[in-house]
């Protein structure tokens, strides 16, 4: 069976690698993009099954990427998991129409939270 691919968009390289390590050991195929512009290119190449997205990124924010993904029917359906320190400021209900399916608070998450979130959006 093909592994499900997960695109990690996180501008802290070491944190992105950490997410990738956790997801890989859980059987997923992670790809890392360090900023939103690179992520847009990667989405075309990799066609990820899910996207883990930081909100405050170098260059442009996660919302620029979300807007772009929403512009196209295929990419608009990719479930997005926001993984951010701003979780307390965001409303999942408000963001659901934009493909955001989970919000994880980076400050309190444990590594398994990432796997659980990916599992739940890929059900």
């Amino acid at each position: 069976m093909n592994k499900k691919s997960v695109l990690i968009v996180e501008d802290d390289k070491w944190l992105a690698e950490q997410y990738a390590r956790v997801l890989k050991s859980a059987g997923y195929e992670p790809t890392i993009s360090l900023h939103a512009l690179a992520a847009i290119e990667v989405v075309d190449d990799v066609h990820p099954d899910a996207i883990i997205l930081d909100v405050l990124l170098a260059g442009s924010t996660a919302f620029a990427l979300i807007h772009e993904l929403q512009t196209y029917e295929d990419t608009g359906k990719i479930p997005i998991i926001l993984c951010t320190h701003l979780a307390g400021e965001l409303s999942l209900e408000n963001l659901k129409p934009y493909g955001v399916r989970r919000i994880i608070d980076k400050s309190v998450m444990v590594p398994d939270d990432l796997v659980l979130a990916v599992k739940s959006v890929l059900l």
Partner: protein
């Protein structure tokens, strides 16, 4: 997808940080390194990791902690700046930058990146405070490390302005181009030394730049930014010392 990729802009982070007290901003700024250290520690606790990887992660923990400590130390220094006594002295910027590069090399190597010094002239002297100037360049370099793309190098440059009366120390990164709007916002933030968000580096609250702006002012200098097609240069301008001309 079309050629409009990534063209959208969003001022979300401005809405989050705009006008917040600096204590809140500082707390947010420290969250990033602490969260990384926590994630790495939790994974290490889990135990199912090769010895090599364990060493790698431990190294990342210590380097990330050092960066967080640098920020807290800069913050403390900044708060105490008005009451602090510090001397302005002639400083050889080449020597100072070489020392900084020596200290930063382990951090940059751990990120598979290089930091280099490019200077046209060796015999320059500026008027400044060694500790404050060092903090400014370290801060710019940390910022550039975050922003540089792939294995792009970061360059520390020493140059002169106004017929040699001003010495500019700049840190050049090669990252995604900064858009015009972002650049305008960034420039205005630097000019007013505000603690509000600097949109070019949304992951950062701009606190670091605010602090180094204060350090520069304390040395009768100023900081600024130049936009390039492929990145940016953050710089500090300081007065040249006349000591050499007396020799």
């Amino acid at each position: 997808m079309s050629a409009t990729k990534g063209e959208h802009k969003h001022n979300f982070e401005g809405a989050i940080f705009g006008g917040l007290p600096s204590l809140v901003v500082a707390a947010h700024e420290l969250k990033a390194p602490l969260a990384l250290v926590r994630q790495l520690s939790l994974t290490l606790e889990d135990g199912d990791i090769s010895v090599d990887e364990q060493k790698h992660m431990l190294r990342q923990i210590s380097l990330t902690s050092e960066r967080a400590l640098r920020l807290t130390s800069d913050l403390t220094r900044s708060v105490r700046l008005p009451e602090a006594l510090f001397t302005l002295e002639p400083i050889n910027p080449q020597q100072l930058c070489e020392d900084i590069i020596r200290d930063l090399t382990p951090l940059f190597s751990a990120h598979d990146r290089q930091v280099k010094l490019t200077s046209r002239r060796r015999s320059l002297l500026l008027v400044g405070n060694r500790d404050l100037l060092r903090r400014i360049i370290m801060n710019f370099s940390d910022n550039a490390l975050n922003y540089a793309e792939g294995d792009a190098r970061v360059e520390i440059k020493i140059d002169t302005r106004n017929s040699g009366q001003v010495i500019r120390l700049g840190v050049r990164d090669y990252g995604p181009a900064v858009s015009k709007d972002i650049f305008k916002s960034l420039r205005s933030k630097l000019l007013v030394s505000s603690t509000t968000t600097i949109h070019a580096r949304p992951q950062s609250s701009g606190l670091g730049l605010y602090i180094v702006g204060q350090f520069a002012t304390a040395m009768n200098g100023n900081i600024g930014v130049t936009r390039h097609r492929d990145g940016a240069t953050f710089y500090v301008d300081l007065l040249a010392s006349n000591q050499l001309s007396l020799l």
